[in-house]
Symmetry: C2
Subunit: 334 residues, 2 copies
């Protein structure tokens, strides 16, 4: 993504976000100057992806500090609302809290902390790409890898490069990627809209598939490894991630294909004991019942729309972070 | 569906089809008077569902017989093209062959055979509904059932009432349905577009869910049983059905939820030894890459689009047909 705008960044006096609701059609940067607008952007998925909303949240604390210094409401109120804008990913609350710990030192200190968080996430993405590609080379020593992914785990989910898709990019840069098989990721099609856009930019070979085809394609031998991101990694190794991750893990287990979770340490939450302690966000049923303004179901239809699921540690081969590879399949603990 | 038009029927001098590409927005009947138009309708999914395309194919042989009697091409050529219009469901080739066996006796004999096939499928749907509901009552004796389904297996997949959704309808008529959880069934959304339309018509309680949520909802205890249809049941009990069925079967196994396949005997194919012998239709990538005329992926994106998958008999609790319940989980053979 060198030369391309960052997914989230500080731009003079505002947060600059790539508007992910407009992709792949248009690359639009939106500038956010107040916390209410940032909460709206996070909830509408203008910015999404656990590490990215963590960084955005940290910059949001800087907005709150500036508003309070200018005579607005106390920053603590805005910060409390911001950290609760989305419940499942731990990164948002964690990075908001980290930046908010500097509120007593003023706007400049908060902004410096947020920039540090941004820079650490960038470094983490590069390191995850390297560690993950090394692991894939160990797991699949004989040939270039065919990699299945879900949702968007690229630069658009972080600041640059990504988590699982950073590994795909590193493999591609090493000449070790045979094909990526991104799942489209209903209902909001982050895999179709965002991941194909990033794969096109990196010039990597891929074919998009519907979510329901993932386990069947694994059973037919179409992929060598599954790489996913995470919204929260519990202390016992359970992983909360985009809805459909669990189904893919079942498919990988059935096919004997390694299932690897790639996420920065900022996503690992020692305070969450297991997956059953994670709050799964239930999003609006309209996301399922219509495509844009076009209804896809009968008049009067209702829907359930859980946005995440939990994959038990027992189905996970390894967790890759910027600093370690935890082989859950060998009984290693976080 | 009493009082409603049949999904497929003979209407004086033409085949009358509900145009399933127009639902749920509009209920439109199309009249088909030649085999080429019927092949097009089958391939565009104007009519779909294994039993329904079997009946449509049988009526198509009558169209071929009439054309040949009127001086057109030999019926055998048209019949050969018709039986190969879609490869995965056995019903099309089987019912075309059955009707074509009467070609030597003329148009009236072929039409009579096609009408007999239609009537047998109607009777089969009623019987499957009763047998399936009885089985669900045995499997879930303590409370009204919460039933997960995939694709459309209702009257729109047959002539009337359906296969798996006939069981849902019978349960609802008995007051034994707590909730249906239809999967939307990407890429063509037969579950969203067609199954919700049928559930609304029967006044049954339901919530639509994305395909990827099926296994996770089963793991969370949201459903008591999974009911699916089939496009082909192999001699060893393996089932070819809509893509995503296999993932749902893995989810059911993981959750300890019964997984029941409901299909007429016309779908059981003793000549197909196992699921690996079934030809899986690969459909156009455009179905995945765009929603109607709106692209959902990046410019230049490619897709793989397998329309069906194979669920091994080892994951199936029971097969319900109009004449028997085969408890595959107890080692019973077809």
């Amino acid at each position: 993504m060198t030369g391309a705008p960052r997914t989230v960044d500080w731009d003079g006096d505002a947060i600059a976000l790539i508007d992910q609701t407009r992709l792949p059609g248009e690359l639009v940067i939106v500038r956010v100057t107040d916390v209410d607008s940032l909460i709206d952007a996070i909830q509408r998925l203008v910015v999404r992806g656990a590490p990215a909303i963590g960084v955005a949240g940290a910059f949001g604390v800087a907005l709150a500090a500036r508003a309070a210094a200018g005579g607005g409401a106390p920053a603590t109120d805005a910060v409390a609302q911001l950290r609760a804008a989305r419940p499942t990913a731990v990164n948002l609350a964690r990075q908001v809290d980290r930046a908010a710990a500097r509120l007593g030192d003023g706007f400049d200190a908060v902004l410096a902390e947020a920039c540090a968080i941004r820079d650490e996430e960038i470094a983490a993405s590069h390191a995850m790409g390297e560690r993950g590609a090394d692991l894939v080379a160990q797991l699949i020593p004989s040939h270039a890898a065919r990699v299945m992914t879900i949702c968007n785990t690229g630069g658009l989910a972080t600041v640059e490069r990504g988590t699982a898709l950073a590994v795909v990019q590193t493999l591609h840069e090493r000449g070790a990627l045979a094909e990526a098989l991104p799942l489209e990721t209903r209902p909001l099609l982050q895999g179709a809209r965002l991941t194909t856009w990033e794969l096109e930019r990196m010039g990597a070979p891929y074919r998009l598939v519907v979510d329901a085809a993932g386990p069947a394609l694994l059973a037919s031998g179409a992929a060598d490894v599954v790489l996913t991101g995470a919204d929260r990694v519990a202390a016992n190794g359970d992983v909360a991630n985009k809805i459909g991750t669990f189904a893919l893990a079942l498919g990988a287990q059935h096919a004997g294909v390694p299932f690897v979770v790639v996420a920065p340490e900022s996503t690992v939450d020692a305070a969450t004991y297991s997956g059953s302690d994670v709050v799964i966000e239930e999003r609006d049923e309209g996301e399922v019942l219509a495509f844009g303004a076009t209804p896809v179901a009968a008049d009067g239809a209702r829907a359930a729309n859980p946005a995440f699921d939990v994959t038990p540690a027992s189905l996970i081969t390894a967790l890759v972070t910027e600093s370690r590879v935890v082989r859950l399949d060998r009984g290693e603990q976080l």
